[in-house]
């Protein structure tokens, strides 16, 4: 569990970082941010990048601010930044609640929001969050800047739409409506483990009926996504047990569950139903 040889590069500016990435991407160069996923993978020699471009010194990548429409989260922002409220909007409480479920405290002190997205583990809480809330990913390279919608960004297990010379420099997460409700639930075998299924929901209540429902499911398929069938089961219904159960059932019917040695498809599908229902129940608390 000693990594294979690599060269670490430490750019100070975004321009330097992008230039290095442009030059080294073809020689198996990778971005190192918090390192909480990449470094263990390197220790197992499952990844043997020849070059690491360490962006921890790059100025300006620690942005965490709002323009009143969206929260901008820079590439160096750690999970722990969300332990407290970051914006005067219901989104802040959502992020705080979700952040508490990410791994363990030491990992949250080091791992980054954008790194989590670029790594694209199916069970990642932030991948689920951005997919559910419709974030925009800002990819930078020496070739320019590209905006990628969350639904186009995730491309299967640990795979994204980022080109190999692109850095996920920022993410824009739209603010929620002032009266928005949200709920989150995940199931794992131990506290802090990768979720075997997770769900994030958000909606408004207009005239006592659910509106603008967003139901995201993570950990169950190669990438987290919104489940239109579950959202349709909610919109126009009064928030409560009947609608929540219908949405949960719709979500579990809609997913194509991943299987692994501790989770078969039937069980994973059951878990999707449970986490969606519990996330919806959480939205009323």
């Amino acid at each position: 569990m000693k990594p294979a040889p690599f060269v670490r590069h430490v750019p100070r500016t975004l321009q330097q970082a992008l230039a290095m990435l442009s030059q080294l991407a073809g020689q198996d160069g990778r971005i190192l941010a918090g390192g909480q996923s990449l470094v263990p993978i390197m220790a197992f020699r499952l990844a043997k990048p020849a070059h690491l471009i360490d962006i921890n010194e790059v100025e300006g990548l620690d942005r965490l601010d709002s323009d009143g429409k969206a929260l901008t989260i820079g590439a160096r922002v750690r999970h722990a930044a969300f332990h407290g409220p970051v914006v005067d909007n219901p989104l802040a409480a959502l992020l705080t609640y979700v952040a508490r479920h990410i791994a363990h405290y030491p990992i949250r002190m080091r791992g980054t929001f954008c790194g989590s997205l670029a790594h694209a583990d199916p069970a990642s809480e932030w991948c689920l969050t951005t997919a559910t809330l419709g974030a925009t990913m800002i990819a930078r390279s020496t070739r320019g800047t590209r905006e990628i919608a969350a639904k186009d960004f995730f491309d299967g297990i640990m795979s994204t739409a980022l080109a190999e010379d692109e850095l996920l420099a920022e993410v824009r997460l739209p603010l929620l409506a002032a009266d928005a409700k949200f709920g989150f639930n995940e199931f794992s075998r131990r506290a802090g483990d990768f979720a075997m299924a997770s769900s994030l929901v958000a909606y408004r209540v207009v005239d006592s009926k659910i509106a603008e429902a967003r139901v995201g499911v993570g950990g169950a398929e190669p990438s987290p996504r919104r489940i239109a069938e579950a959202e349709a089961a909610l919109n126009g219904q009064p928030p409560g047990d009947a609608a929540f159960r219908a949405a949960a059932l719709a979500a579990s019917d809609a997913v194509d569950p991943l299987e692994d040695h501790q989770t078969n498809a039937e069980y994973r599908r059951d878990l999707v139903r449970v986490v969606v229902r519990r996330a919806l129940e959480h939205s009323l608390q």
Binding site: P3, F44, R45, F187, R189, Y267
Partner: protein, 757 residues
């Protein structure tokens, strides 16, 4: 001569071991380095079963910094690893060579080793070694028909058979028969510190040292020396701090022999530190058994006979423990109950998986699960609750000592003392059993899936045959207790110091306890089988008492008085009537003749048998299959607790491990024999979030009659019945007797059981 004051035995005094550990000054295997050392990296088989056609190390040898590569032909003169315990002759062909010869038999088997200037280069080089292996079909199931394991061996090298009484007659005469098929999962002790070994040859003194020893340094010294052509007098094994033992650490493994052989061959210090992935595929696994058990009972549910057949999955080789685990499972299965007739057949089976050895409560975790499931099934059969059925079957105090008519570990099993019914009463009282039952019933009526279960067990401890201790008072007045045991973190130094302090009349902090060093005492049995406090404790008391007599005799001469008029109080020799002169131990040590030492040996041909009761209360999430433990109570009678806090710590740690095996931990293999549990993301150890608060009741109602302090060992009772207690509680929560048949109870398995409702 009366014992001096104050008393340390029986008090929860602070551990002597903690200061360096808390200051980060511990010296674990990886902390040991010698200048000019080479690092060893093991190349392990990537396939479960195959014919080893060739090894190409050319690219590895060409890498700068690589000194050498060894394969089997370099160590062909070194015999396979010998058996330490229960070494049946028929098992000998199944011993493990230190590097694979002709065949590989499990993923992780050492095939070659690389020696390089640093551990990074060694691992780079290991990656470059090309193995030409022709894959063969792996054997992965331990039950079913027997057959060839490979060209030379069979899948079933031996069957452990034990019996007494007329089992067939009992079944013929039975009111009813209860039969179950049960299994425990493959898991093991996973210490925080992985294994490590650093060998250093001192040419000037002709001494070969190996650092990183644990558990049984003396036996390992003798046998590693024999394997590599040295003698026990020019080789030493040295134990530093040890980050957990649990049975698996400290046995002779291939890597220990390889570093020693290489240090001699190359004249360089050789360092090897295991990584976690290696640990999870290379260190001993344990616990995987399938049982088919039957009980013959009378109309009241009294057991007339038990007949058990089980299949023990031992992995690809028989390691140092040989038949120990299945033998203990077979011998200890009857537990605290009166079983008039008993028969067991334990099939030792080979599979293409990591070889197995002992793990805390070896064989008993398995057979307690099986026996206690059986008791619960008997209760259901005759329509009484789990507590009542146990009361009806418990061995009575009046029957002690109770001869089980079975043997294990070269000893005849005779339960030395015990009041099993009393401990059951006390533990249920501690758990508030009637109120707990009422509360659970109310909650079940409201729709919750909650329940409680009870499991009982007899443990064994204090394995002989002997322990020797030498006690010395140094010139500075400090007392040194030199033992032949090992410290794997359990508090040996503190407990032995407490015993010596009371016997001598000094403060326990004035005592240095030496352990795990073959260069300080020639013989030692080490630390296993919950033996240390019993065997070494009594040897310490004997030697300290002898030394006290010697001190008083020598002091009496100097002080011109009678020895019987003197006492030792807090390290000072004083007159009993508090008059006249006094003298410190240091002053006496500095006066002629100056040799203030004494040695004594405790011999014991029988083990001593602590016993316990676990009560678990659980809540099942029937949506997810998750099991939460709401309450856990442990009652354990160990005769005499030298340091109750250390005993509680042992029990709490054992519980966490038992819980792992019940709910979380499992070494899983795919259909090709590829291990799937090779990281801590896949092999799930319980963390502080999964381990519940526990109530621990230590009782001293049945001191052992086999040693003067009444000691019994406390190391394994925390782990022993956890799977059994949790299974029983889950049955109760589901109100479905016999719902749980297999461990671990993962959420997916639990959910499948819930679906059957």
């Amino acid at each position: 001569m009366s014992n001096p004051k104050p008393k340390f035995v029986g008090r929860s005094v602070a551990r002597l071991e903690d200061r360096p550990l808390l200051l980060g000054q511990g010296r674990f295997a990886a902390d040991v380095s010698f200048s000019g050392q080479w690092h060893m990296r093991v190349v392990r088989s990537p396939v479960a079963h195959g014919k080893l056609q060739g090894i190409d190390a050319a690219a590895a040898l060409a890498l700068p910094g690589v000194h050498a590569v060894w394969t089997h032909q370099d160590v062909a003169h070194i015999p396979p690893i010998p058996f330490r315990l229960t070494g049946l002759v028929e098992l000998e062909p199944y011993r493990q060579p230190i590097l694979a010869k002709d065949y590989v038999r499990y993923v992780g088997e050492p095939v070659a080793v690389v020696f390089a200037t640093d551990p990074y280069i060694a691992e780079d080089a290991a990656d470059l070694i090309e193995l030409d292996i022709e894959p063969l079909a792996p054997v992965l199931a331990a039950s079913g028909a027997t057959g060839p394991f490979d060209a030379e061996r069979a899948t079933e090298p031996s069957i452990i058979r034990k019996s007494y009484g007329d089992v067939d007659a009992a079944f013929k005469a039975a009111h009813a028969v209860v039969a179950l098929a049960l299994s425990t999962g493959r898991h093991s002790g996973v210490p925080m510190e992985t294994r490590g070994a650093v060998a250093h040859y001192d040419e000037a003194r002709d001494i070969l040292e190996m650092h990183g020893a644990a558990k049984v340094p003396w036996w390992n010294r003798d046998h590693i020396a024999r394997m590599i052509g040295r003698t026990r007098t020019n080789m030493h094994l040295l134990e530093g701090h040890v980050g957990g033992g649990f049975g698996i650490r400290g046995e002779i493994y291939p890597e220990d022999v390889l570093v020693c052989a290489a240090a001699l061959a190359f004249g360089k210090p050789i360092k090897w530190v295991e990584d976690r992935r290696e640990h999870l595929i290379a260190a001993n696994h344990s616990r995987q058994q399938q049982h088919r058990i039957r009980a013959a009972i009378d109309a009241e549910g009294r057991i007339l006979a038990i007949d058990d057949e089980f299949f023990h999955d031992n992995g690809a080789y028989m390691r140092t423990h040989a038949a120990t685990v299945p033998d203990l499972a077979a011998a200890m299965l009857p537990g605290p109950y009166r079983v008039p007739a008993y028969r067991v057949a334990g099939h030792i089976r080979l599979t293409n998986k990591t070889p197995c050895g002992t793990y805390r409560a070896p064989g008993r975790y398995e057979s307690t699960f099986v026996r206690e499931r059986l008791l619960d099934a008997v209760a259901a059969k005759v329509g009484v609750d789990g507590v009542e059925i146990r009361r009806r079957n418990l061995i009575a105090t009046s029957e002690m000592p109770y001869d089980l008519h079975l043997e294990t570990l070269g000893t005849h099993i005779v339960y030395d003392s015990g009041d099993y019914a009393l401990l059951l009463d006390k533990t249920l009282a501690c758990a508030g059993w009637p109120a707990l039952q009422a509360d659970l019933k109310k909650r079940r009526a409201a729709g919750e899936k909650v329940g409680a279960g009870v499991a009982m067990f007899v443990e064994k401890s204090g394995l002989g045959p002997s322990d020797t201790v030498r006690v010395e008072i140094r010139k500075d007045g400090k007392v040194e207790v030199i033992t032949g045991v090992a410290s794997i973190g359990q508090g040996v130094e503190t407990a032995m110091a407490q015993i010596a302090a009371d016997a001598l009349g000094v403060d326990y902090t004035a005592i240095d306890v030496v352990h795990g060093r073959t260069d300080r005492i020639d013989q030692g049995a080490g630390a296993f089988a919950s033996r240390v406090t019993v065997m070494c404790g009594e040897a310490t008391r004997l030697a300290s008492t002898k030394l006290r007599d010697k001190v008083l005799r020598l002091a009496a001469e100097l002080m011109q008085t009678d020895a019987s008029a003197l006492d030792i109080v807090n390290g000072e020799i004083v007159s009993r009537d508090s008059t006249g002169p006094s003298m410190t131990l240091a002053e006496l040590a500095q006066a002629p003749p100056g040799d203030l030492s004494a040695e004594d040996t405790f011999l014991s041909s029988h083990m001593v048998y602590p016993y316990g009761v676990h009560v678990a209360a659980v809540k099942i999430d029937s949506d997810t299959g998750a099991v939460a433990i709401e309450r856990y109570v442990i009652g354990y009678d160990i005769g005499k607790a030298v340091n109750p806090r250390l005993v509680e710590s042992q029990i709490a740690g054992g519980l966490a491990q038992g819980l792992g095996g019940a709910l979380l931990e499992e070494f899983v293999y795919d259909d090709h024999g590829e291990p799937l549990s090779v990281t801590f993301a896949d092999y799930l150890m319980p963390t502080s979030r999964e381990v519940p608060d526990i109530s621990i009741l230590i009782t001293e109602d049945a001191p052992s009659p086999l040693n003067p302090m009444g000691l019994k060992g406390a190391g394994e009772g925390g782990a022993n019945p956890v799977g059994a207690a949790i299974a029983s509680a889950i049955d109760d929560a589901l109100q479905r007797p016999g719902a749980i048949t297999d461990l671990p109870i993962t959420p997916q398995r639990m959910k499948a059981i819930c679906r059957q409702n």
